[in-house]
Symmetry: C2
Subunit: 277 residues, 2 copies
C-alpha cells in the first residue's frame, strides 16, 4: 500500500507538570497539530514532559536525533522558577544560556507599555524578568503580540526549533505572526484535505475488509475508521485525508474514494451520511 | 530545593494518526494522567505516535529504556488495517505475535452476545476479528467490559505494559476493572493531594520571588503558577500538590504552604480566593 504524506516531519514537545498530572487538557498540542497539518506538513510525534531540566533536555536530544525539519516546543518560557524550557533546550543542545539584548528590549518595552496603560505602577528588571531574555546561544527572540515572554527560534544542524509560551493565546499569536509562514515555506505549496462520512448499521469488523479494498484502490487517500463508541453500537466515523499541491486533484481523489466506499457500505447494508469535519 | 515525588514512574503512549493531524483532542492522555496521579504514581512522559509500525515500535523501545515501572498504551487494538499497536509493541520488544486462545474466546463470546442481543444476524471469525487475538508472545488478555477488543498485559524485564483500546469508554472500563488495582499496589498507599488558589492584581513576574520563598520553606509541596491569560491581565491560578502515605500530613503540608503564600501575596497587594480543583 502506498501512503503519500509530505516528507517534511514536524515534532511537538509540550512542557508542563500540569499536563502530566492530568490537571490541564493538552489543547495546545491539538491546536498545533491541526494548524501544522493544514499547512501541509506532517506531525510525526508529540512528546509531553514535566518542568524538569533533565527531562526537557533528553526530550530535545531524542527529537533532534530523529531529524525532523521543524520542532515546536510549548510551555515554560515565563518568569517563575518552574519555567525551565530555555535552560532545558540549551542543555539538550549543549549550548550556553546568554542574555539576549533584543529579547531584553522586547520585555522592557512590554513592561513600559503596562505602566503606560496603568496596569502597573512602576517596573524593575528583576532577575525573574531578565530570565525571560536568557536564550540558548545563537537563538533569536520572536515578538509576543499579546504577552510578555518572547518566543524563541534557533537552528540546530538542519533542524529549526521554535519555543512558544504555554498560555494558549500567546502561543497562537506568536505562531500566527512568525511561525506559520516559515512552515508554509517548507511545505512548498502542499495542502491537506479531509472529509468525513458517518457510518451506521455496520460493525467495525465488517467495515475492515471494505477499508482494505478502498485503501488499495485509492493509494493517495488515507482512510481511517473512528468508532464513536464500542463496536456493538455500530456507529463509526470514516475519515478521508490526502495531501497535494493541487486542490483540484486532492478533491477528486477524496471524492472518488468517498464514492467507492459509500457504494460498498450500502451493498453490505450500512447507512451513511456526510459529516462535517 | 527538595522535590518529593513518588519514585514509581509511569509512561503513557498514545497511538493514532487522528491525534497527530489535530482531528482528535487527546482526552485519553488527560484522563489517564489524572487517574494515575490520583493513584499515587508519577506520570513521567506522554508520547503520541501515528498508526505506523516502526513509530510504535521505536516509541516502545525508547520508553522501555527509561525503565518506568508501568507503561499504558492506548489506541490501535481494533479490527481494521490501521490498528497496529499489538504488532508494533511486539516489534519493539522483539517478540513474535501469537494467536492467544483466551483472547480468541473472549472475542467469540462478545460476538455471540451481539448475535443473542439481535445486534448482528450472525458472525464469522474473519481474519480481521482474529487479528484482535494476536498478542505479543507471553502477553495475556484483559477483559473488555464494554467493547470487543480485549486489553492486553505483558511484562518486559521489570516493566509492566498494558495496551488499552482508544475508544474512551472501553479504555476507561478496562482501566478501572483491571489496571487501577495493579497501580494502587505499586503505589503502596501513597496518595496525591492538591489545592488551588486564584490570584489577581499581581503580575506573574512579581509572584515569582514569592513562589521561590514558599517552595524553599515547604519542600514537600510543589507549587506551580498557571497564568490564566497573558501576564498583563494579572490573573493566575496557583496550584499546590503533594504526595504522602498519610492524608493528615498531606493536608497539613498544603495548608501551611497556602497560609504562608496567601500572607505574602496580600502584603504585595494581591487578591486571593480559594479555587476548586
Amino acid at each position: 500500500m502506498v501512503m503519500i504524506m509530505p516528507v517534511n516531519n514536524v515534532e511537538i514537545i509540550c512542557v508542563g507538570n500540569e499536563l502530566l498530572i492530568g490537571k490541564t487538557l493538552n489543547t495546545n498540542a491539538h491546536w498545533l497539530a491541526k494548524r501544522i497539518t493544514t499547512l501541509g506538513l506532517k506531525v510525526r510525534r508529540i512528546t509531553v514532559v514535566g518542568d524538569d531540566l533533565e527531562e526537557i533536555a533528553s526530550a530535545v536530544k531524542e527529537t533532534i536525533k530523529r531529524k525532523p525539519c521543524f520542532v515546536v516546543v510549548t510551555g515554560g518560557l515565563g518568569p517563575t522558577f518552574d519555567d525551565k524550557t530555555l535552560e532545558g533546550v540549551a542543555l539538550g543542545l549543549n549550548r550556553s544560556l546568554q542574555e539576549n539584548k533584543e529579547a531584553l528590549e522586547m520585555i522592557k518595552a512590554k513592561y513600559e507599555e503596562y505602566v503606560a496603560e496603568g496596569r502597573m505602577e512602576k517596573y524593575e528588571m528583576t532577575p525573574h524578568r531578565v530570565k525571560m531574555a536568557r536564550l540558548p546561544e545563537g537563538a533569536e527572540p520572536l515578538p509576543n503580540p499579546v504577552g510578555t515572554a518572547p518566543g524563541v527560534i534557533l537552528k540546530h544542524e538542519c533542524v529549526k526549533m521554535v519555543m512558544l509560551p504555554g498560555v494558549p493565546e500567546e502561543m497562537k499569536a506568536i505562531f500566527e505572526e512568525s511561525v506559520a509562514k516559515m512552515l508554509q515555506e517548507i511545505a512548498g505549496g502542499l495542502t491537506f484535505y479531509e472529509a468525513s462520512l458517518e457510518v451506521r448499521n455496520l460493525p467495525e469488523s465488517e467495515l475492515a475488509p471494505i477499508l482494505d479494498e478502498a485503501m488499495h484502490d485509492n493509494p493517495y487517500v488515507y482512510i481511517k475508521s473512528h468508532p464513536k463508541a464500542s463496536e456493538k453500537t455500530h456507529h463509526i466515523e470514516l475519515h478521508f485525508s490526502t495531501t497535494s499541491e493541487d486542490s483540484h486533484v486532492a478533491k477528486q481523489r477524496i471524492g472518488r474514494a468517498l464514492l467507492q466506499i459509500s457504494e460498498m457500505i450500502k451493498r453490505k447494508g450500512g447507512k451513511i451520511r456526510p459529516k462535517k469535519t
